[in-house]
Amino acid sequence: MRGKGSLLGKGLIFGLALVFCMVTGVMAADTIRIGVAGPFTGDAAAYGDNIKAGVSLKLAEINAAGGINGKKVELVWGDDLCQPKEGGNVASKFANDKSIVAVIGHVCSSATLAGMPIYVRAKMPVISATSTNETIGKVGQGWFFRNCYTDDFQGRYLASYVVKDLLGLKKVAVFHENNDYAIGLKDSFMAGAKDSGLEVTGVEGFVKGTTDFTPQLTKLLRDKPETIFLCGYHLEGALIAGQARKLGFEGPLFGGDGIDNADYIKIGGEAANNTYLTVPFLADAAGPEGKKFAEDYLAANGREVDWMSANAYDCLGILADVIAKVGTDRQKIRDGLAAMNSAEAGFEGVTGLTYFNEVGDCSKPAFVKKVEGGKFVPAN
């Protein structure tokens, strides 16, 4: 243990420890600090960008109007890479920062699930714009709220309305990603399909990061489905669309909100046309507030608004509303959110009326849009 080696080792630890302590110090500020958790880098960064754009727009409006009760609002970003482990780290950081009064996030259900126990223990109210997994409400134990619909609702809606009524088709092939979002969506779709009398000709799964879907598609197409359910996110969806067309499939494709992203059209190209998808927000179908929001968004970000941004915008709006009424105590904020449990006590935002049930879920309508001529258009 003698000699230069151990000295170098000791010096390194000491130096690192010093920098470390400085880095973990807490800053005090006279603003209202709200944590925003999501994937701001990594594969899912597109979603994080959407959330960022949405809350930033609302933040600008709030602070321009003088803040909440005179205090400006400050956002603290936590990058969770859409991964449970990072979600836990971010949750730990937010929970232990006494100056943060509430958290908007996370984006991915798996990260939210990882963070919720930490938030519950630290008594931190959390509101998510995008986490749609069924089980979060239970794990949240009253501290979790969301203003997006759950996958249970979306799956059934896809089966009963989109496939049966809108498209008028019966034979469906299901191609789902093997992750929490897609499996939940697939299960509720299958239940809905059974109730609606649809015939599921085949179910295949893929893991994240697959780029070659031809073997599974060949298998699914053998049974001659009339439409394919792209049960996953836009990236794989676009690749599947392209490869399905190459294999000769000409029918319509459909998917859930995971497909809703400009990259779907960009990557899918021609093959992306004739795809239908359900989304929680559609600018064309929204009220005057929604339309104004869509215009402001386009002006500020140079791209069309998407449902994640709209929900995130409303999340901050809901929080601002509640904080203005009850102040900055975490428990009080949670109680304020829980008190929004009926249509009268709900929040009217760009995405419509939001109010929560006893586990923090809300029921919101879904809209359908489709890809036509290389653009998203409403489907009715």
Partner: protein, 297 residues
Amino acid sequence: MFLQQLVNGLTIGGIYALIAVGYTMVYGVIQLINFAHGEIYMLGAFFAVTFIVGMGMPFYMAFFLAMLCGAVCGMLLDVIAYRPLRQSPRLACLITAIGMSIFLQNLAMLIWGSRPKPFPGNTLPAWFNKTWHLTHFSLTGFHLFIFAVTIIMMVGLHLLIKKTRFGKAMRAVAQNKTMASLAGVNVNKVITLTFAVAGAMGAAAGLMVGAFYNSLYPTMGYVAGVKAFAAAVLGGIGSIPGAMLGGIVLGVAEAMGAGYLSSLYRDGISYGVMIIVIVFIPAGFFGVLIKETKKSI
């Protein structure tokens, strides 16, 4: 469906073969599993996209230039990372290889971002998109292009190894470095050039995959690299015809497995094959011939 799966399998198989050959060539000359080879495959794709989008080059030119860059990257890898460790124990070389792999992956993320990118549309030659719908399967021009390139490269490599002086030098170094050096072969130069050839082929494979499946991302080399390595092992590591055959067999097995059995364990098929082959027949298909003549130090 069988014929379509066969087409699918031969396509992926050809790609695996191109990458596998790179692994096996390098292993043959310096007995090192070049973990960073997958990253050269990835860089080939990214360089090509950069050339096409950033400099407006036509496809074929970008293709050749990307191969050239792959060769250069391979040489740099050898000179910078592996050559200084020629005399070091194997563990050090393996760790360096992994370190370079991680480094290059993240470097690519830094330069090009970690989000998957599409291959620039409409830059591929028009005949790639022409589709023939035959009775039991479909085929596109791109499929044919991949088959053609794969076959040309395999034949070219075979000729290189068997008919040229360089090929002879490579075989000599693979057999016994000391004796080759005594016979007048510049061992270091041969090794570096081997890396160059391996790199060029890997880059070509990466470019074709990126374009064909329309998705490029910095970690694409990781999984493809492991599978190609499984293919090389299957064929007998150190044997070039073995790697070619191993690649095709693995590709077809994967397509058939994903098509007929479970699509979720698709990657698992490669890992499983690799483990079984290594444990029970470490010499692979053609390895038996090589094992006897290889020296053990």
